[in-house]
Amino acid sequence: MARIQDIAAFNAARETGLEKLMPTVPRITVGMGTCGRGNGAEGLYHAFAAGIDRSGIDVVLAAVGCFGSCYCEPIVSVRLPNHPLVMLRKVGANDAGRILQDLATGNITPELVFCRIEEWDHITGHLRYGNGYPEVPLWSEVPFFKGQRKLVLRNCGFINPDDIEEYFGIGGYQALYKVLIDGRPETVIEQLKASKLRGRGGAGYLTGNKWEFMAKAKADSKYVICNADEGDPGAYMNRNEIESDPHSLLEGMIIGGYVTGATEGIIYIRAEYPLAVRKLRRAIDQAREYGMLGENIFGRGFNFNISIVEGAGAFVCGEETALIASLEGHAGRPRPRPPFPAQKGLAGKPTNINNVETWYNVAPIVTRGATWFTEIGSAKSSGTKVISLVGKVQNTGLVEMPLGTPLKTYIYDVGGGGVDGRQVKSVQTGGPSGGCIPQDMFETPVDYESLAQLGSIMGSGGMVVMDEDNCMVDVARYFIEFTHSESCGKCVPCRVGLNKSLRILNRMTEGAATPHHIELLDDLSRYIRECSLCGLGQSAPNPVLTTLRHFKNEFEDHIVARRCQAGVCEELALSPCENSCPLHMDIPRYLQLYKEGRHDDAFMAVIMDNPMPSTTGRVCQHPCESRCRRKTLDEPVNMREVHRFIGDTMLMSDRFDEVAARVVARKLEPTGRKIAIVGAGPAGLSAAFYLSILGHEVSVYDDKSEPGGMLAFALPEYRLPKSALRREIELIERVGVKFILNTRVGADVSLNELDDRFDAIFLSFGTWKEGAPLREPGTDLKGVYPALHFLSAVARGEIVELGRRVAVIGGGNAAIDSARTAIRRGAEATVIYRRERKDMPAIAEETHAAKEEGAKFNFLATPHRIIGDDQGRVKAIEVAKTRLGEFDASGRRKPVPTGEIQRIDCDSVIFAIGESVDVELAQSAGIKLSRSGTIEVNRYTLASSRAKFYAGGDVVTGASNVSGAMSYGKLAARSIDRQLMESDRWKGAMPDFQFDMTPPESQSESRRHRGRELDASLRAKSEDEVVAMLSHDETLDECERCLRCDLTVANAT
């Protein structure tokens, strides 16, 4: 090919390219970027080639770059002449034959269809493929692409990066042609300045200004450099851009070279990107061959060449002065600025360095103009930014959106939210120099200033999503470990400061840190940020500073409670199940003990971890299951049913006296200390048990006629038989706890009196107060019941007038319990909930059981008004229908009224929302409350604002669940004991068992066992327990299914 010197030759090349892109025969392309190849695209390509050879059909096959949707690689596009381009997803080599067959008959393969593209704006050109296939979604309708604006990625995935003619075909090098023909470099600089394009490498400096400095600098030689030293963990947009569309980079650089008066261009690219290097070399060769590089480009007397330098992969060489040092053959160490590279750069000559993505924006701005560009993005940050969205989201890949798009759009809309329904906790932007932004700040627009305000940066555009399985202390540690090992060592703050930061963070993750380390780390980080020589050191503390700011709780958990909630830090978590159990039961221990046939030991292990296994064995929300590693094989171990079995078989058997005596024998010597507990619910009962075991004298006050609180009065018999609860309470009494019933603290005895008579007081009186929803219009009618009143009246055996149809408002366990209890009273129940089923806080199994028993559900509805008849009885309820709008602070979509009102005829309404704490009692005793109207306590000691007074359970958290409340009782007992006895006696009071610590040799093949359920038709008419206990054999199976992930390498050796 001769060098193109005139418009005729240029147009001819363009025509050739267009014919290749839209041939008169079918064209198949395979996405063969690194991501595609990693997923088998090479094999796929060869399968197509072989298939075409074999069948002899007339098809054009091309290897193209990456279309950005990494989560469904390999991606193939097929197009029949005059038809839309159709993208196929997750195509395997086996699919090639079928696709070719279908294509030969003029069809596309429906199972693999991803989306269709009827026309495409390449910015420098526009392709119309054709219309059709209405059943296939348009690319812009696919959630991952919705709202994306492909400016930088305009050609990626469409053209063959190895073929310059295809680049000509979509209007490539026309911007260069225009600039050279115009011959007015200053207008291009003006255009760039007006476009407000900012450097896409991270710092966000105005590119136009930078070019202007360089253009004005006088020297015999000047350089433009492309910084392709992309080294952030989690960022790979530059690699993909180069692999998919190398000529756009060259065109940007040639224009830049001409405009700034440079004599040479250099691409500094990391050697770890071999494919990108190959594509670039070929592109440079072709550009030279076609006359886009070299002497006298387009016959306009402009000479320019581009060379490639492969960097050895030091992160710091992304810093421009270090990059220059590296190019000059020195070690990659930055030097102070000024002088800036535009004054004194490579070899002391004026030098302009831009990031890969910045160069990609040049041709579009030249083609479409500054105004067009500024209309995209936000006021201060115009244009788009390519983000690599990775981590704990469903859809990962390269996402190009206008700047200013909020974080939540990336994470929830494009990314599809958390994986496996897990909650997204945070997002880390900007790579190791960026910061972690918490979930409640996902409204933040992604632009330079907004991210900086939160202590993070745009950086090169990495976005790592993290969920509850990520430990933020470990995340901070990880990034500091990275920057620490990439520090060049020149300046003290970065060299030694990061080393000390890392050591402190290591101590934290090992549980060996003290609270003063938080302060020290904060001081150190601020110092490193301010005093370091270059950008690496100045931004390296960002991950620490932002996690300290937004996730301080997690740091305190590691240091004070010595617990890593995410279960990442090995020393601070035994196993995922133990760690997620509110009571931190040593689950692998009791599973193993039972497996070894040591049933008595297993019972002792259970009961000392959790004094009410028969209760939690039935009603716990079992967060342990969501983290069970067995889930990766089939289903989680049924830990709840196992500990229920272990509890029931001892507590409910004739061995009760014997096992109770053995528990009592564990009591420590009497201490003579007296402790009062207010409220005999789950929190109070567990505190009472442990305090008594620790040798204290415990009195539990309750205004009801029997102990148990919500367990006795709000949980229906079919879920928790009273006989089981009574046995557990009897055990607690045998340990020495005294119950003072029918006594209302605040009325019959004051808190001040308790203060006089006891050494410590634990407040655990729950959330029995019926709250705000009663203010709904119409709630003073007959037939309106708060759920707790309804359930406890039923539990007491009272008769409640429900009528035939009951409407239950709410989505928690109390709502489901109410509905199922109403069904057992012969009523029809409809549960009204403002969100969708998946958002319900109730245990999923319970909701499912309610449905089986005939409960109806009206989702996306909120009570509007209750209508009464002339006798003042409920006649109907009107609900306002809602739809799910924006994401709120909890990561769920907020229900917003649609305006539609629905009428549901009913005879009674049960409100299962808005229970709250009786705050007057606490207030009258001078105990400080939180803004949400619960008692404020120290998270680790549960001490309230008043000396000697502790609080836990629902009075602290608001209405929650049984195991959660019990965990507070357990913690309170330990904390009160430590305070009274001035030492931590807990470990000494707990049993210690030796058991097998070798990993199981083989995995049990057994499937998960479930407790058999009573038939739905039978149970709707009965108070009998719904879920039956496992058998002994089934229990043993479950124990054997445990993978023993509590065993660490240290244990095994």
Partner: protein, 237 residues
Amino acid sequence: MSQKKISIRIDGALVDAREGQTILQAAREGGKTIPTLCDLDGITPVGGCRICMVEVEGIDRALPACTSPVQEGMSVKTTTPRLTQHRRLTVELLLVERNHICAVCVSNGHCELQTMATNLGVSTVRLAYNFPKLETDLSHPKYVLDHNRCILCTRCVRVCAELEGAHVWNLFSRGINTRLTADLNGKWGDSKGCTGCGKCVQACPTGALSEKGRAVEEMVKQNERISALAQRRGAEA
């Protein structure tokens, strides 16, 4: 160098300076003291130790005086509580990085790091000591390189390159593992390029480079002579 005169304020006092000078140079000529460690007057500054950080009015971030050029009307503060805090932390970090056992050091009593700690009132460090295991290079017939005392200021690297023209010294590896090295990670005694002039030893602020045979407290450095030489060379050039 341009001779255009400008004036700046240092701690409130007007100081004459010339365009192209650094804040540190202007301060020295104006009789003002800014503490330094890696700087050696007359040798190219590198801005590595960050002791000379100063505050400049209108700029949030503190700037290194040794590499920041003066600008007309700039107002510099050399000592503020924030700067003192930074400097103390810098000294603390240097003290914990390697094994500075002053009591048995040849430079005890004549060490710039030790003096800096005293001047800044550093009586202890808040950070844990690293206690790294480091070598001592005794291969040179006349001199000793003790990595335990090295603060990586690179004065030796620069005087060797800029004054002696021998380019014996360089830095090896990176980050916390950075080491001073003779030639390409060789022994000092094996260096063909080393002229044995001893300029590096005299320029070294601590006991990292010393003359053989010196006992504790005996190694007194003459870095002002190195500076004088450097300035003379600069003037000649």
